[in-house]
Amino acid sequence: MAFFQPKSTATVKSTKHVVDPALQPWVEKYRPKTIDDVSAQEHTISRQLPHMLFYGPPGTGKTSTILALSRQLFGPDNFRNRVLELNASDERGISIVRDKIKNFARQTPRAQAIASDGKEYPCPPYKIIILDEADSMTQDAQGALRRIMETYARITRFCLVCNYVTRIIEPLASRCSKFRFTPLDPTSSTSRLSYIADAEAHRNLRRAITYLQSASRLSSSTSPPTPITPTDIQEIAGVVPDLVVRDFAAVLGIDTGGFHDRRRAPKTQSGGFDPIQKKVKELMREGYSDDANLHDLIVLHPTLNAREKSKCALVLAEADKALCDGADEELWMLEVALRVHKAVAP
């Protein structure tokens, strides 16, 4: 009759898949949990939350801020049914706005009074809808949001997050209070990075968390562990090394002597179509592709006059647009090179 007896002894080991914190990307692991943790963006948030529009360049903590805020407001239990996060990876056409967003906006979920982790959360009587990367929403979808935002304003707050505020239609923007996120200043990003570096017990700190993570992995796994050097970071970050850029500039006839001693010698190899074409081919072969560095070099150059600089800027802007349209890279590198050469030629 053993068959009918409860199998008390056979305890099923529950092997739940929990993400091992050691394997988490640091970007997520160290995403701020509370508003106070958010580096450098000093906004005061009262309990009377308006609709919000966060805008600013990538990596300045917009998403982190709103996630931290809603986590702080609702706590882990209510977070699930009080916050709807939609980003560009979700379908966000007009039909979704009409159905999903509207349905979520109109319901009033009951708050779970006692939080499971024993802390107290304010849990205000509204929900938050986060529309991440809102600048990739279509005009129509944005239009459909207008009335929804007003009708359900009593029980729902919207938070739009975007890079370019100009891509948000005016009626939406005017319904939100805007928060501009400035690029982090070096001290606050350094302090955050050093905090992470301390927590991970490595002594090295550099520009960004991803870079820090990969860089530290690289350095600690080589034996013996070597400290991270700036060139490592440049390679990881995909920045074209200074020397290569200067070399290129020298071929174009830009005097880089002010920056670099080795180039103080009279320019001999500069100018001409063939050397330029050869240099561009060489660069393409090495796999470098970035006009941004040349841009910096030109704009910050001490001896070029404003006219030459603006000509160069025009060329670079045109090239950028062309590349965005999917133009051939080699042709345009050559084009930029030739025209810059022409612009700076005496």
């Binding site: 990596g59 990876s89 992995r217 990881i236 965005c324």
Partner: protein, 356 residues
């Protein structure tokens, strides 16, 4: 019997012949456990794909080489069917979203979410995550790239993405900042020399250095091309001695002919002649950009110094137009006519100044 390119492709990171620093780096990353998203970029034939497969092997063991090809059908928002081929193993899958054209966003959204939301159940698996390789990442549309952004962060516990691109300039900044960038430069001449020598040794013959040099000069840093040429030459003359003629592809000689036509005579009749040649090239599926580039380079070789930069300028100009527009032949022809008029102008001015 497969081609030498595939047959002698290195399988493990230790077998790679050049970019040793990169190999060491990839190896340590694969061993570390928290493998980041990666972006491999570099010119074609530099060995990006080889490095990716080697890294995968390092991560998951030989199981990744058991590949199967699957065809999946996705539905676009307007209920159109999009068919995409997926190459996959138990541990990774590989897609070329640009196959789906304008609808690549749908493919990215659906496929990545599906993978991201399934977890590895085999507790003995070497890694918790699955790897998705996205080929031709630089031809992803802007929407598709935006769709990648948050997915890359959110589902990182279940999935890693490896992007493979020719250049980083067409990728949006948020994607770049989420990836570890790996630049794979084309091999230098000496590096190619060793690789070719190695291939020859594996195939069981000796490669004379002159022949190797010839092949390297012709390939322009493209190792795949170099090895293919080597194999072709070996078929032609088994001892690889004496004067070698590396056969140029037909379209290249054809483009050269077009360039000569442009330079020798500038009349409407000539334009018509060139038009038929362009049609011929296009109907043989030579990409219009490649045609334009090859012809432009050939023309530049035959004209005066002052004209060269002009020709390249207009080539770049019409190349963009071609991308935006839909009929390629118009722009190719417009460019030819432009070049002809420029050439004629400069030619006659030059003449007149000499006479007077």
């Amino acid at each position: 019997m497969s081609l030498w390119v595939d047959q002698y492709r290195p399988r493990a990171l230790d077998d790679l012949h050049y970019h040793q620093g990169l190999s060491a780096r990839l190896k340590s990353l694969a061993a570390s456990g928290d493998f980041p998203h990666m972006l491999f970029y570099g010119p074609s034939g530099a060995g990006k794909k080889t490095r990716i497969t080697c890294t995968l092997r390092q991560l998951f063991g030989p199981g990744v080489e058991k590949l199967k090809i699957d065809q999946r059908v996705f539905l676009s928002p307007s209920k159109r069917k999009i068919e995409v081929n997926i190459v996959q193993s138990n541990y990774h899958l590989e897609i070329t979203p640009s196959e789906a054209g304008n609808y690549d966003r749908v493919v990215i959204q659906e496929l990545l979410k599906e993978i991201a939301q399934t977890q590895q159940v085999d507790l003995n698996a070497k890694q918790r995550f699955k790897v998705v390789i996205i080929n031709e990442a630089d031809s992803l549309s802007r929407d598709a790239q935006a769709a990648l952004r948050r997915t890359m962060e959110k589902y990182m516990s279940n999935m890693r993405i490896i992007l493979c691109a020719n250049s980083t300039s067409r990728l949006i900044a948020p994607i770049k900042s989420r990836c570890l960038l790996m630049r794979v430069a084309a091999p230098s001449d000496t590096e190619m020399h060793t690789v070719l020598g190695h291939v020859a040794k594996r195939a069981g013959f000796d490669l004379p250095p002159e022949a190797a040099q010839e092949i390297i000069n012709d390939s322009g840093g493209n190792l795949r091309k170099a090895i293919l040429v080597l194999e072709a030459l070996k078929m032609q003359s088994p001892d690889l001695s004496g004067p070698l003629t590396i056969a140029k592809p037909d379209w290249e000689t054809y483009c050269q002919k077009v360039a000569v036509l442009i330079v020798t005579e500038q009349t409407p009749a000539r334009v018509m002649e060139i038009r038929t040649k362009f049609y011929e090239l296009l109907s043989h599926c030579i990409p219009p950009t490649v045609i334009l580039k090859t012809v432009a380079e050939a023309v530049v070789g035959q004209v005066d110094e002052t004209l060269k930069s002009e020709i390249m300028h207009w080539a770049a100009f019409y190349e963009v137009r071609m991308r935006i527009g839909s009929k390629k032949i118009y722009h190719l022809e417009a460019w030819v006519v432009k070049i002809m008029s420029l050439y004629k102008q400069s030619f006659y001015q030059f003449d007149i100044s000499e006479f007077s």
